[in-house]
């Protein structure tokens, strides 16, 4: 019976998600392909391994590490965890939108098993779409990407889902104050077919009716989101495997029965892995990703609807050839077709025959990439080099060379250097830094040229104390070309001439990242410090003078410590500090009395010339294993987290206004959270 239910759930999956997409074959996949097709669990990027990888800016977190971190609202979140790493910054308080090495949020390519996710956030950015139960690991390339990857300037975040149990039916889940989740996994056909399906639902909105005596409008509103993930792994033969993964997630908000707003992500991957010989493997993938949002409402005789969507279909083939123990050659191609309908609104009024609306013409594009790379290792020297050629609609093309070298010049010490060039053909036309769902993506056009970035990095990595500790220092300098920014008072929303609201120029970013990390022992974690600057120079903005980008936050410190008190109690703490975010503030005021009454208007003369107050926050968490450290058939624990322990009022927004009583101008700081306690019960069987 249990298996029937499981099969039924899996069978239902394609109805829910109607596509297939595919992940890139990463290093861990290559490991899996060697010899047999047995699963090899991927562990964190070990301290030893990090010494001889020529790539710089490569960060990897396992789900075990992520789960140890304190969480906001009790929701363990992979993106929030990555924001604890050097060079990665949240764009605003509690937001899933992030900046890597001074880049904009749209310069990060987020992949879920290889499929592009266009909006990785729920509930206006406070939660990411990644249910921690289904994640195996998350790898972040902070700029020095391998030639097999591309399409964004700043980073690639690869979130890989777990393989699933081939032994017996397993399950795990969690119950929190505002959301719960569950995962079921097991073999459908022993040693042939395994599957899992997981879901998460956010139900804070169901408590809103209890507010009917406080706010009737709010009490009649609805608010929820959900995620469903599923994966099938089929062993077709000793040399062929097939993986199908899918994701469906959405947000639903309804205001007092008058209007509703929904946005959703769907993605799917179908990947076929074939071993041609013991030196030659082929991975073939079909990819798809869909993002859409709809807003609709009716008020008496007036009704309206707003729809927008992105459809992304991809095909990818990658060949891996290992001619000898010193070389590992990869080559392949990637095709991507995108259809973007960035805004379609319609308003109807009873009694008026014609409807009114704005329809932004749909655009479609074909992005193609050919790539080849080789990883070499001779003694103490490790090399990686490659070339990616990318094309957009046969109009734009770029050659993107990538190269890196690591020299383990002394025992447990290595020096690294790398160069990479990246190109980006799709841009996010959004002024929000907080992860608004109203994303408008725009493919490069004659007025909006592709952005490119050249990055050089150097680094030093040293392991010490029996590989228990690792210290690393990385420096980078980035030159950005055709980097886009909004002109003053840009009109972005539903503007069919949105190109005219954007200006292009050049940018630069540079920084140094220090990190001391310990992955073994009772006390684990890291301490990192980042010095990072990011500037833009664009004609028409800031009078053509160089200005700070919104990601220019010179100093940041991240500390994460976990202490395993005994077999059943883990205590962890994080502390983050960052220089305040640049923003535009008025230098003067003037009055406009034209319509009768004087109104004080702030006068702005420069872009991002001021900074919000510095950001810092302490979070604590304690996890109690209710089986007191003994593995049983049913394992469960309770996690208690405190977010923002010392109630720092971190600025989410700074506004300037005239006090209606004193008629004096004043600055108003808006903060979102004081201390946020949460408790989550987690279960696995």
């Amino acid at each position: 019976m249990r298996r029937c239910v499981f099969i039924w759930l899996i069978a239902l999956m394609p109805c829910i998600m109607c596509y297939a997409a595919n992940p890139l074959v990463d290093e861990s996949d290559s490991i899996r392909m060697e010899g047999t097709l047995d699963e090899v669990s991927v562990t964190a990027l070990s301290s030893r391994k990090k010494l001889d990888i020529p790539s710089l800016g490569l960060e990897k977190l396992t789900i075990q590490q992520i789960r140890l971190m304190p969480s906001m609202f009790g929701e363990v979140d992979v993106i929030k965890s990555l924001q604890m790493l050097p060079g990665v910054q949240s764009m605003s308080e509690g937001s899933s939108a992030f900046s890597v090495r001074g880049g904009a949020p749209d310069q990060n390519l987020i992949l879920l098993d290889g499929a592009t996710i266009y909006n990785a956030s729920h509930f206006l950015g406070f939660f990411s779409i990644f249910n921690n139960d289904i994640i195996d690991n998350a790898v972040l390339h902070k700029g020095d990407m391998p030639a097999t990857q591309g399409g964004r300037l700043s980073s690639v975040l690869e979130v890989t889902t777990k393989e699933g149990s081939n032994e017996k039916l397993h399950g795990q889940g969690g119950i929190g104050l505002i959301s719960s989740r569950i995962l079921l996994e097991g073999p459908l056909v022993k040693d042939k077919l395994t599957a899992w399906i997981g879901g998460r639902v956010f139900y804070a909105g169901m408590f809103l009716p209890a507010l009917k005596n406080v706010n009737r409008l709010v009490s009649k509103s609805r608010l929820t989101f959900y995620d469903i993930n599923a994966k099938l792994s089929a062993t077709l033969s000793a040399k062929h495997r097939l993986y199908i993964t899918g994701y469906a997630g959405g947000d639903y908000m309804a205001l007092s029965g008058t209007g509703k707003f929904m946005y959703s992500n769907y993605s799917a991957t179908a990947r076929w892995s074939a071993i041609v010989s013991d030196k030659f493997y082929i991975n073939t993938s079909f990819l798809s990703s869909f993002y859409n949002y709809t807003g609709s409402g009716s008020l008496n005789a007036l009704s309206g609807q707003w729809t927008s969507k992105i459809d992304d279909y991809g095909f990818r083939q990658e060949y891996t050839y290992n001619p000898d123990v010193h070389n590992s050659l990869k080559m392949g191609y990637h095709l991507s077709y995108k259809y973007i309908k960035s805004g379609d609104t319609k308003i109807n009024q009873e009694g008026i025959e014609n409807s009114m609306g704005i329809s932004i013409p749909a655009t479609s594009s074909i992005e193609t990439a050919l790539f080849a790379s080789n990883a070499q290792k001779y003694g103490i020297v490790s090399l990686t080099y490659g070339l990616r050629a990318s094309f957009l609609n046969n109009i734009y093309w770029n050659l993107e060379p990538r190269a890196g070298i690591a020299v383990e010049f002394y025992k447990d010490m290595s020096l690294k250097a790398s160069y990479s060039r990246t190109a980006q053909y799709i841009h996010l036309m959004q002024t929000s830094t907080a992860g608004s769902p109203l994303d408008v993506w725009k493919v490069s056009s004659p007025n909006l040229k592709p952005e490119t970035c050249d990055q050089v990095s150097v680094g030093y990595v040293c392991n010490f104390y029996k590989d228990q500790f690792q210290i690393s220092v990385e420096g980078y300098y980035k030159w950005l070309h055709n980097v886009a920014d909004f002109k003053d008072f840009a009109d972005v929303m539903l503007n069919k001439d949105v190109d005219a609201e954007i200006l292009s120029g050049k940018g630069r970013a540079f920084g140094v990242e220090f990190m001391l990390r310990r992955d073994i022992g009772k006390v684990t974690g890291w301490v990192s410090y980042t010095y990072s600057r990011s500037f833009r120079t664009i004609d028409g903005i800031n009078s053509g003078r160089e200005y700070s980008s919104t990601a220019d936050r010179p100093h940041s410190v991240n500390i994460f410590l976990n202490y395993k008190i005994n077999k059943w109690i883990d205590v962890s703490a994080t502390w983050v500090y960052a220089t305040g975010q640049p923003f535009t503030a008025p230098d003067a005021r003037y009055e406009v009395p034209d319509f009768g009454d004087k109104e004080v208007i702030p006068l702005y003369t420069g872009r991002n010339t001021y900074r919000m107050p510095d950001y810092h926050r302490l979070d604590l968490a304690v996890t109690f294993d209710l089986n007191k450290g003994i593995k049983k058939r049913y394992n469960h624990n309770i996690n208690i987290s405190l977010y923002n322990v010392y109630c720092r009022h971190n600025a989410w927004m700074m506004s300037f206004q005239t006090n209606p009583e004193s008629h004096q101008q004043e600055a108003i700081l808006t903060y979102l959270f004081s201390i946020v306690p949460s408790i989550t019960y987690n279960l696995s069987f």
Partner: protein, 326 residues
């Protein structure tokens, strides 16, 4: 307290953002001259205002500028007796269709003993008449109050002509037992003024219906003064077609005044205007077309106390109770 209520209150507290006054240090840009004003296509007296910029947190007077000579098409304006640095046209000034109006201001703003000249010009834009005004209730509750409402305006946008629309809102109170009519200009500042454009061909040439203003039972008149709307009050909407430069100026002012918001943040910058010589501000011409609608009485929208205050104890004679089942 039930568990649901407890969780709901906790959730509401967590999600309710808080604000606090912050001692923020700003630099002060050098003072610049500000010139604003407009004329319309209906007879009246119009004003050109001259002032200067000041430190954002400073409490200094912004009208502390020297006197000036102000001209529109070589016709000299006269200084206003009651408001400093305001210059008025004759009281029957009327902008003609398609006419170009040139503003010239001569003033020694920098105090070097020599007058500087600031100029701007604007051409009367295409006149678009307002077709209709409907006070529409924004509620799906059949038995609910009629508030809030929207002023749904309708008009025909001319094909192929870029139009820059704005709409003013006025409220005229009904005569009551103790008072005469009062006409209030509700959209009395740029950020309370409704703007919309069809400059792109998004709705070019369409018959436009646009919910210009949202009206609750109380309308903000001044920051510390609100007006209560009663039945038989008259709502009046004035459709304006602006010159692009003045429209952009008003739009920039509105964006600047609304401040920054991480969710829908528009990057602010220097204000765009059409005054030459480095002055801030704009001079414009706009057309005017008006429609009125009377607020209807609806049972349950006003309390007895409110109705007595406005119409006296015999208010039921004016608004007899509707019989059920009618």
């Amino acid at each position: 307290m039930s568990r649901k209520s407890f969780v709901a209150i906790i959730w509401a507290i967590l999600l309710t953002s808080c604000t606090e006054k912050y001692d923020f240090k700003l630099s002060t840009a050098p003072s610049r001259i500000v010139i604003t004003g407009y004329v319309c296509n209906e007879p009246g007296q119009y004003a050109i205002n001259i002032s200067r910029t000041g430190g954002y947190f400073a409490a200094d007077s912004l009208t502390d500028v020297p006197s000036a000579d102000v001209y529109i098409n070589d016709e000299k304006l006269t200084p206003c007796d009651t408001i400093p640095n305001r210059y008025l046209t004759r009281d029957d000034f009327c902008a003609a269709d398609g006419e170009v109006y040139r503003l010239k201001v001569e003033i020694d703003f920098d105090g070097d003993g020599v007058n500087e000249t600031y100029t701007a010009e604007a051409k009367t834009p295409y006149f678009v008449p307002l077709s209709g005004l409907l006070l529409q209730t924004l509620s799906n509750d059949s038995g609910g109050s009629q508030f809030p409402m929207t002023t749904l305006i309708t008009f025909q946008d001319p094909k192929g002509i870029p139009c820059y629309y704005g709409a003013h809102l006025y409220l005229t109170t009904a005569r009551d037992s103790a008072d005469t009519y009062n006409r209030y200009h509700i959209s009395n500042t740029p950020s309370k003024y409704c703007l919309g454009t069809t400059a792109t061909d998004a709705i070019d040439g369409q018959f436009v219906f646009f919910p210009a203003y949202l009206i609750s039972k109380r309308l903000l008149y001044h920051p510390l003064d609100t007006l209560t709307i009663y039945p038989n009050d008259t709502v009046e909407v004035e459709l304006n077609c602006h010159t692009k430069e003045y429209f952009d100026f008003l739009s920039n002012c509105t964006s600047s005044a609304s401040g920054s918001n991480p969710m829908f943040m528009v990057p602010a910058g220097p204000i765009q205007g059409n005054i030459s010589g480095g002055a801030i501000g704009a001079f414009g011409v706009y057309t005017v077309s008006r429609k009125k609608a009377v607020v209807q009485y609806k049972e349950g929208s006003w309390t007895d106390e409110q109705m007595i205050k406005r119409f006296g104890v015999d208010w039921r004679k004016l608004f007899p109770k509707e019989e059920s089942g009618r």
